[in-house]
Amino acid sequence: VTGAADRLPRLLALVPYLRTHPGAELAEVAAVFGVDARQLNDDLNLLWVCGLPGGGPGDLIDFAFEGDTVSVVEAQTLDRPLRLTADEALALRVAARALADVPGLAERDALESAQAKLAFAGGALPDSTAAAPPIQVALEPEAEALATVREALDERRRLDLRYLVPSRDEVTERTVDPMRLVSVEGRWYLEGWCHVAEAVRLFRLDRMVDASLGAAAGELPSEAVPRDLAEGLFRPRAEDLTVVLELEPAARWVADYYPVEQAIELGSADGEAGPGALRVELRTPDPAWVVRLALRLGGHGRVVAPPSVKAAVRERASAALAALGD
């Protein structure tokens, strides 16, 4: 936002913003425009010397400062913000459309109608009002639990969950004080204080076998801080197991789906892997999950290390073959 190319649009929006927010606190204005106090001061000083031809008093943009607040006295022609650009209208409309399609969101109607009204905000550029935008986002969960989770958040109620843990092949009972509902990488998660783990946990909505509203949620403990998800959902821990996998082309999707720490393209000269193979390292708290994955890959991917996981793959494959009558 501080790039030079963004400065003129910011200056053009600043004047009408101060007109609609007379007596605005300087710190708040800076926050709205995503700049620091010094940059805001510089912006106001620049605007102050601009205005109508002639440049005499009364021709220029003028502000009044009082304490830490600012108002605009003379906006000259800049009393209204510029129309949305095609990109701006598109980014908002596509986002609103995507959310409006999510069942169970209380905001659906408002998103739908706001999306329609935005069609008029984008000026004369034809593609900003096109019926089918060139970007589409499907956010709908396959989960039935969304509405219940949303209700628990709104009413500050506890949630009683029966929650599937596929890697351990278990359904666990959890009592959770909800903190927020997030969608990350196309999936919806509840983040909350888990009374079983006594820690903040993320729960995938499509793994909730059952979700029901419980008692009123208590005060969240001070450790209940939302995780920063910008770096992705998976956060390896020191005690996690490092697993090395070799993936033939038919198994390379693994590197797309799971967070891998290293990926090295292997040539035909490298060990047993054929051309187009990839060697990846991933970290997991759960070796059983890797064993399941190795069976699923059916020989197109193999565990190189650790040997204990390799041995577990052999054992489980042999047992399954025996069960098939071999």
């Binding site: 000026g123 956010l139 958040l153 927020r180 565990v303 098939l324």
Partner: protein
């Protein structure tokens, strides 16, 4: 952008909005602070170039600088900005709609969409529409971590041909593709490009994560014609595994394979389920990880698929290489 240039462009925009008639270039040069002409041919060329660039910069921001005849002069082109074309119209948003847009604006985490969303919200706030803080606890986000995202989005917006290397699943090498892009779609957390594959002469769907680093636009803007009525999302859904065509009954060890049971149709007997998918191979892919806990009922074909995978896994994990790969 230098301070002088910013001041000059602001003054130009204000001047063109304040006028009710088209102003000639000479008038603009006289009126707008920041333009200087020294009367020499070189000075005139420099002024002209500066004015043309300023005009282009304003238009680039979406400011409608219109041209028209200058009163009293037949062949002279003049300029002005109609204020009603410039200004964001009153959108008559309700408080709930403003809050909904505040929520929507936070959806994007990729700069290519997050920045226009943020600047759009600043314009709405400048118009006096202050969205309430989004409802507590609701934080949908759409990532676009694929390196190909921004070049694909740009090519779609500009209607330009795209070239890239593409590695299909199971293929060792990337093959180069030339595509007329129609749109990008995020589906189940992944981004796809839908377009017309010029070499294959057919519409195709490409997953952005399978494109190589060399995604580039070629050719002129506006070269792509998007077929009217194209349903981008349906194109992506159809490109992924199709309608369930086969079914198989699987017996599960009591208390096991809980994820497989979740959402599956119960089978004819206790601890059996009916799985449906496009083909038996895909059913085997879902079942095999449960090992001895899941076995096909009356389906030698599914048993054969499972056996093939298990034998493959067994061969790939033979104990002979343990020594060599241990550190």
């Amino acid at each position: 952008m230098s301070r002088k240039k910013l001041e000059r462009q602001l003054n130009l925009a204000i001047c063109l909005m304040a006028t009710t008639r088209h102003l000639s270039v000479d008038e603009i040069a006289d009126l707008v602070d920041g333009y200087t002409r020294d009367g020499t041919p070189d000075g005139e060329t420099a002024f002209r170039r500066m004015f043309e660039r300023d005009k282009a910069d304003l238009r680039e921001l979406g400011i409608p600088v219109e041209t028209g005849g200058v009163t009293g002069w037949d062949d002279e082109i003049g300029y002005r900005i109609e204020r009603s074309d410039y200004a964001l119209p009153d959108l008559h948003l309700t408080a709930a709609e403003a809050a909904a847009l505040g929520l929507a604006a936070r959806l994007w985490s990729s700069a290519a969409l997050a920045e226009p969303s943020a600047s759009a919200m600043r314009k709405l706030r400048a118009a006096g529409i202050d969205p309430l803080p989004p409802p507590s606890g609701l934080e949908p986000r759409v990532e676009a971590t694929e390196a190909a995202f921004e070049p694909c989005l740009a090519a779609v917006r500009e209607g330009r041909e795209l070239g890239f290397g593409y590695r299909r699943p199971g293929q060792a090498k990337a093959a180069s593709r030339r595509v007329h892009p129609w749109g990008v779609v995020s589906w189940r957390g992944r981004w796809y490009l839908v377009g017309h594959d010029l070499d294959r002469g057919q519409s195709r769907v490409f997953r952005l994560s399978r494109m190589d680093a060399g995604v580039r636009s070629t050719g002129p803007s506006g070269a792509v014609t998007v077929p009217p009525g194209i349903n981008l999302r349906a194109a992506v859904e159809e490109s992924e595994p199709g309608e369930p065509a086969v079914e198989a009954v699987v017996r599960l060890r009591p208390g096991s394979a809980l994820a497989l049971r979740h959402g599956a149709v119960p089978g004819p007997e206790p601890d059996t389920i009916v799985l449906t998918d496009r083909d038996l191979g895909r059913i085997a892919d879902r079942v095999v990880e449960y090992g001895a806990d899941a076995a096909p009922v009356d389906s030698p074909e599914l048993a054969a698929e499972l056996r093939r995978r298990l034998l493959g896994a067994l061969a790939a994990h033979d104990s002979a290489s343990d020594e060599a790969s241990a550190p």
